[in-house]
Symmetry: C2
Subunit: 343 residues, 2 copies
DNA sequence: ATGAAAGCGCTAACAC
DNA sequence: GTGTTAGCGCTTTCAT
């Protein structure tokens, strides 16, 4: 390693080689103008001196960044953790950097982060909205600025968005159907807000399955709320206060199932003996480790990959890939194993 | 919302208000030079026009960024997920942004990411090294550049680093002692590499406890490896190939425990009936949900908070906080409950 | 209290 | 092939 590592810039290289800094700049970027010989010399010297281009200057003058901004509502949950890991990995392999921001389910933070990312001149934006997000103005703004935008998993209700989602309706339908076929017909739904696609579609899937099998829906058991533990906790208490418990629960997310579980245990209810729970999400580690829940498995890794691919397509080809929606299949996992008895 | 959202810059505001852009710049930054009245007008207009300062230009000229770079080896695991969430949250509350990069346990990626972050002119760097990291040259370079650097959880063996870690030695000691007091003396250690602090200290804690209680250590059961599932999987197979299994396992991380678990199940071994497993990490969600493992609980949230506080101190006061090491306590959790019978 | 000039480190025209 | 000239949008002296 060289000793002089501080503040090596184009001009330093230029002086040492007695050429202009433009030559250096071009050589480093493998511009066809420059001779092979020159490029060799420049790269050698750059390595030796430990030259690292100044990201800020570079992007300010070129007005692109090779950065994709990512905005997620949560991070310390397996589903989002997996999405994020996958997005990072796919971006890295395509020579893009990710700048991740976390909105913590707060619309105000989400807005602030998007503005930050825009001011960094990101080349594109991948967003999974908060449970609070109802105002789409910020997304309109992104669109007006012609910054490619892809939603992942959670999509606000606007026209012409590009998105990567899962088959929420079908997943909820299958999970509900599975309960019914097991003769568990007293089913509650801990659903998400209807202003978000996943809340709406999952509730619709649940309702359709119930209707198709002529099972009456108990309106006390149709809970609409957020996606976090506290929502599940509160959901239990609301259901509990109304009388006898259902035999089965379909929960809109894994955290909601956890919250329900906590409240149930505190009331001496045994899970899954007294109440069976299926939730959207993903059992961790290859579904090896036993869980008290069953899952509507969401392919997080694929979601991340597809979102990056789509945003790259949008960056390179803004018109052709506008408003494309990719929907991936879910899979009902019973005791960690894929369930084939239902569609 | 205003319609003209694209490319509003200082000069645009300046023209509208018939002042120079310097005045605007100062007003926006609440500089004492500017009159209250002027500031009011400027802020109003900025809001109206949706002005967002250009991050690139701003930081290029001021040569600071209000950004802290974060480098972690993994993300889709609860422990790192929690650290990351906590770092983001604490940074946000202090008006800093985080740029997160993920090395995926690869030293080469780690190096590349650190260079990227340096070229973004981050104000400081929080790093948890990969299991491969043995060359400290890149960290020396950071130090030479006078960029504040804090290690979190995983620290390379260099002199004068600032770090936030847990009591790895004590945690491993307590976990081992607990086994011994339960009369489980055939204990294997699935340890981490000795070139990283956590590998070394946890192995030392295990060894000390065994020695203090005069329990012989079976060298076939002292595995040194990485921190991921595959290492646990391989660890099982190495132990299994040597003859009878131990009664208990101390695993250096949760993923290692998972890998061991998978391999064990495949061989018809029952966990925890045949082999009890304790690992470093954290049961998820308030330790409510039953787990087949016991845990040496690491306070991830506090780790993140302390790391951010320390880096902010270093940024504001580079000399005073140099080489400070914060060590947090671990807690042995048995069946999700804190164990008081051992230290 | 306000502004003019210079410059952060780089890239993009356009000459030569 | 290589260099010259501008300029990205902001902040910083230093005048006024």
């Amino acid at each position: 390693m060289s000793k002089k590592v501080q503040h090596v810039k184009l001009e330093d290289l230029a002086q040492k080689l007695n050429v202009s800094k433009v030559t250096i700049s071009k050589a480093l970027r493998d511009h066809p103008d420059i001779s092979i010989e020159m490029k060799r010399k420049v790269n050698l010297l750059a390595d030796e001196l430990g030259y690292v281009p100044n990201f800020l200057a570079k992007n300010l003058s070129s007005r692109k960044s090779n950065i994709i901004g990512l905005v997620v509502p949560k991070i310390a949950h397996f589903f989002f953790g997996s999405i994020i890991e996958s997005v990072y990995d796919t971006a890295f392999k395509n020579n893009y950097e990710i700048v991740l921001t976390v909105s913590q389910e707060m619309a105000a933070r989400e807005r602030k982060h998007i503005l930050s990312l825009l001011s960094m001149k990101v080349d594109g934006l991948i967003v999974s909205v908060t449970q609070e997000t109802t105002d789409n103005a910020i997304f309109e703004r992104v669109k007006n600025m012609k910054v490619p935008l892809v939603f992942i998993d959670r999509v606000p209700t606007t026209e012409c968005t590009s998105s990567v989602t899962v088959d929420d309706y079908g997943g909820a339908y299958s999970a509900t159907e599975y309960f019914i076929k097991k003769r568990l017909t007293k089913i509650a739904h801990l659903g998400g807000y209807n202003h978000i696609n996943i809340g709406k579609a999952r509730t619709a899937g649940f309702t359709s399955a119930m209707n198709d099998y002529n099972i009456p829906i108990n309106s006390d058991w149709m809970i609409e709320g957020g996606f976090a533990e506290e929502d599940g906790y509160e959901g239990f208490n609301r259901i509990f206060s109304k009388g006898p418990l259902p035999e089965a629960i379909l929960a809109v997310t894994y955290p909601v199932a956890l919250g329900f579980y906590e409240a149930a245990i505190q009331h001496g209810i045994s899970i899954p003996d007294d109440v069976q729970i299926t939730c959207f999400g993903s059992n961790s580690y290859k579904n090896m480790v036993p869980s008290v829940f069953n899952f509507v498995h969401q392919p997080a890794k694929e979601l991340g990959e597809e979102a990056v691919k789509l945003i790259l397509n949008l960056i390179n080809n803004p018109t052709e890939f506008e408003c494309s929606n990719i929907e991936l299949k879910t899979q009902l996992m019973i005791n960690g194993k894929s369930n084939k008895s239902v569609a």
